[in-house]
């Protein structure tokens, strides 16, 4: 009815094409805004692949608390290389290995660390996020998490070399869900090879950093 009225009233109006054009424009803008707001909120969730339940652990640690952490150099999604030794003497280092990009638990582990920057800084710590995915996949995945404050590193080639150095490379080529806290001297002070199906609480990391700083 409203449309009929609109049509009758304006069908001989010279301004009609301009008016219709403007209305169409408004419809398109509104729809784009509506669709984009819906999509941006769901994009990460929609791109998740669920591997189902996995054996909690499938590897044997090659390092222990008190050992010197094996040094490594890996490419980051920013395009530069990052070495563990870059931080020695300057920062405590927390390494978060997660099994795989675009999987359920991993996709909501680093976003939590992303809002904890102040807490890491309080303990003079940097965080390194590592998976065995290749750099482009890691880039695409972490882009959906917003602007991560910590380096994200790819242990893709030689495949899983760093994960294997720590003894957390599983038989199918992904890493365990594991946390290592390394002090400024390069000594491993905390290890949590977590059940791969569950997200470790941040408490373990923070307590380990507290222990280092209060020593």
């Amino acid at each position: 009815m409203m449309l009929k009225h609109f049509y009758v009233k304006h069908k001989n109006d010279n301004k009609t094409p301009e008016l219709i054009k403007s209305l169409l424009k408004s419809v398109i803008i509104s729809l784009v805004l509506y669709i984009s707001s819906s999509c941006s909120a769901q994009s990460l969730q929609d791109s998740i692949y669920d591997p189902g339940y996995l054996p909690p652990q499938d590897s044997s640690l090659k390092v222990n608390v008190g050992d010197k952490a094996p040094d490594f150099t890996l490419p980051s999604i920013k395009g530069n290389n990052v070495s563990l030794s870059d931080y020695m003497g300057k920062n405590n280092v927390v390494i978060s290995f997660v099994p795989s990009a675009f999987t359920p638990v991993c996709s909501d582990q680093w976003p939590g660390y992303n809002i904890a920057e102040t807490l890491f800084k309080k303990y003079d710590a940097v965080l390194l996020g590592i998976t065995t995915d290749n750099t482009p996949s890691l880039f695409a995945w972490t882009q959906q998490m917003g602007d991560l404050w910590f380096p994200v590193l790819s242990d893709f080639y030689p495949h899983g070399k760093v994960a294997d150095q720590f003894g957390i490379l599983r038989s199918n080529g992904i890493s365990e869900r594991a946390l290592f806290v390394i002090d400024k001297k390069g000594i491993i002070r905390y290890i949590d090879v977590h059940d791969i199906n569950k997200r470790p609480p941040i408490d373990g990391i923070i307590h380990a950093l507290e222990a280092i700083e209060n020593k």
Binding site: S30, Q109, G112, D203
Partner: protein, 187 residues
């Protein structure tokens, strides 16, 4: 004239959007299950939070039926959930609106960190400057009572005319407009 049509068109789109997404209010007794309310003990309760909830500052935990408010809004969140992080400023806005004279004593907001530890909830509270009480639910006991699904998840509990609390709204997502959502709780 063009502006008038533009205005009505935008209003129509916003109205349709609102209808499609936010129509889960239910004041009938059909979907109500009041038992979880009475099983929900939340702790630890800080003196500031006790003050906000109009309880004695010496209390260290709270059961929802103890509250004097007519409406309790529960926000289920998780520190690791991106959508929760993105939506938190809107809930803070809801809290600010609820502090107006009109709602101050009638509406109370409580956040539940589904699957979070006390430390994670504290971190989240500080990061987003959340002024209302947040409680950890590491074993998901509270969240499972309320059958929480995807986060963020909201439950609105309202005191009925007979003085009993009942759930009038529960859904994943959030709200389009804080003022409208708050007004809806009063209907």
């Amino acid at each position: 004239m063009m502006r008038v049509y533009y205005f009505f068109l935008c209003a129509l789109i916003i109205f349709v959007h609102g209808c499609v997404t936010y129509t889960d209010w239910d004041t009938s007794d059909q979907k109500l299950d009041s038992s979880p309310i009475f099983n929900t003990r939340l702790y630890p309760l800080s003196p500031q939070d006790a003050n906000y909830l109009q309880l004695s500052e010496t209390r260290n935990s709270v059961l929802l039926p103890l509250l004097q408010a007519d409406v309790i809004i529960l926000e289920f969140f998780n520190m690791y959930c991106i959508k929760c992080q993105m939506f938190q400023p809107r809930i803070n806005e809801l809290y600010q609106l609820s502090q107006s004279q009109q709602y101050r004593d009638k509406v109370k907001i409580i956040g539940i960190g589904a699957g979070n530890t006390d430390m994670e909830v504290s971190l989240y509270k500080e990061k987003y400057s959340v002024a209302f009480p947040l409680f950890a639910d590491p074993q998901l006991e509270v969240s499972e009572n309320y059958r929480v699904r995807l986060l963020p998840y909201f439950v609105v509990i309202k005191r009925s005319s007979t003085g009993e609390f009942k759930i009038v709204y529960s859904d994943t997502g959030g709200f389009y407009d804080a003022q409208t959502f708050l007004r809806q709780t009063q209907k």
